[in-house]
Symmetry: C2
Subunit: 342 residues, 2 copies
């Protein structure tokens, strides 16, 4: 067909182009462009013919091409650990709402806690020319992002800091929150307190462990090695760690769990035991109120919203040096953290 001859490159599906509209309306390409972009210089009769052709063909303007010409894609990338983790739901939704208020779409994905997958995803987003990035990092070295940041890709790190580069970041007070949670257990008479946390290369895991050690030191308690276990949040690993701390001649009388994934497994492990064991968990969990689980709560939605607002201020030209925002945590006493030592 002549049609094909005029379009040597393969086109997506058989989506009509401006050329198709021009051909059908019997006008020039420039005329169609004027109508599509509401520019002057088209007679009402011609405009009607072009609009009829647009309707008949189902033509839709290609924003991808347009935004590329404008130099902005009106999209931002969100890289988090796991789309399936309920902690990231409210964070993602909060980012989405801010992006939407700025007319931007959200492209997101999971790093699966794998630094290589994080970099692959981040660079794929940059190659699509997202205007900005919000990253919950799995990696601890982000120098791979420097050319992108230099090129103007606004970048904000959330929940965990950027590694080896200067960047905006929005963090929760993991150290202070864990210290408060552990001090709460100590205030209820516990001295033998176990800490089960996420992998040691994760900033929040080590910060929360630091908070645990600070609270124990402030109470003059010497921490035994067997009271601390960092590792994957795999239920098998967490349950084994809890069982080890709760057995033997001198079991711990209380546990502090380092994040929501750890807490759900610890709560299940404790449910199987007769002897009551006190528990404070970092991160709130749906229905934790009904189970009476005392938690150190962080506001995931506030973190997402704050990060996104930072990002768009940068895109609007804010030139101040990289800022570090730390959001407070909140201890919510519901019973499990107020149990006395057995």
């Amino acid at each position: 067909m002549a049609e094909t001859a005029r379009h040597p490159e393969p086109r997506y599906g058989n989506r009509p182009t401006m050329k198709d509209v021009a051909a059908r309306a019997g006008v020039g390409l420039k005329t169609v462009s004027r109508v599509v972009n509401s520019e002057p210089g088209v007679t009402p009769d011609t405009e009607r013919r072009v609009q009829e052709a647009i309707e008949a063909l189902g033509f839709r303007r290609n924003d991808s091409a347009r935004v590329l010409r404008k130099g902005r894609t009106a999209s931002i990338g969100l890289v988090l650990e796991d789309l399936a983790d309920p902690f990231y739901g409210p964070l993602s939704r909060a980012v989405e709402e801010v992006a939407r208020a700025h007319g931007a779409l959200l492209i997101n994905g999971s790093s699966a806690e794998d630094p290589e997958r994080e970099q692959e995803l981040v660079l794929a987003l940059c190659a699509r020319r997202v205007d900005g990035l919000i990253v919950i990092p799995a990696a601890d070295d982000h120098r791979y992002l420097e050319p992108e940041i230099k090129a103007g890709v606004a970048t904000v790190f959330v929940d965990r800091p950027a590694g080896q580069i200067q960047a905006d970041m929005v963090l929760s007070d993991s150290f202070g929150g864990a210290r408060e949670g552990v001090a709460h257990l100590i205030a209820h008479g516990h001295r033998r307190i176990g800490f089960i946390g996420d992998q040691p290369r994760i900033h929040t895991a080590t910060e929360r462990l630091r908070g645990y050690h600070a609270a124990m030191a402030e109470a003059g308690i010497t921490v035994e090695d067997s009271w601390v276990s960092l590792g994957s949040t795999d239920p098998g690993r967490v349950r084994a760690a809890a069982d080890a701390m709760l057995s033997g001649p001198e079991p711990v009388t209380a546990l502090f769990s380092g994040n929501n994934r750890v807490t759900v497994t610890v709560v299940r492990a404790l449910a199987d035991r007769e002897r009551p064991v006190a528990l404070v968990g970092f991160d709130d969990i749906e229905l934790a109120d009904l189970l009476g689980i005392t938690v150190v709560s962080q506001d995931a939605a506030a973190a997402g919203r704050t990060a996104a607002e930072h990002l768009f201020r940068r895109l609007d030209g804010a030139g101040h040096p990289p800022a570090r925002v730390e959001l407070p945590t909140r201890l919510i006493a519901r019973g499990s953290g107020e149990l006395p030592p057995a």
Copy 2:
């Protein structure tokens, strides 16, 4: 600057272009293009000069432009009700994993159960030329999508069917699941059973209500109007509905809650009451095992995976007529659904 003169259009940040690379390497644009795209016809020395310029400038190929030329954007859109709803976490992650296996990125957003917002989001995704769409619809009329589907945008509807158009869809057996859950309550001696569901314009809400009526009819039970309440999942609305059904001279002895959002509020409402009330909820919830909540579980991850696999089969050219896949549900007895009438 000459630089600027050569780039009259505003460019994103100051991201280097092929022209910048060509200028720095002192070669022509076509030569840079050959090196970037690994095409022959460049001397080793010239290639080295170009590579050095690419390094020095931090140039990165623009995939947006490239995929536009290729006619595919290697991105798919996922439109769901609420990124913050834990039901959609595993679904999103499952879609992401299939997309990733096909080298595609995920652009997603929330319709917030608003048909206009759904259409706005879907059309924005189409304007960005996503290759395909996975939609959990809020609207009941999707004729607005016909030009896009004609143009080749593969589209799969999940959880709820498409409205007034033919399209692939992946649904859970809402009718059968609800019927089984209500029959389970009847088998445990209940006859006065309340149904609290989502808004009546939502397909899954009415299908589950149909399952409730089927189970009641099969048991020869005449349903009283006061036993059924459909509406928003707002906790205030749901709690009021539960309280109304549980008070008065002849309260219901059991409740069936129509989805996870309704269930969490009903569980809280029942926790405040002395008299035990039986409960079966549609959708599983984290920690429901520890609370002994009997549920009709649907596999959100399987729904997402199935829909995404369908989508990519379409993108790979599968031409069969629109298919409707219905995934089974599973009753999980945990105690709340096995309580006898008070």
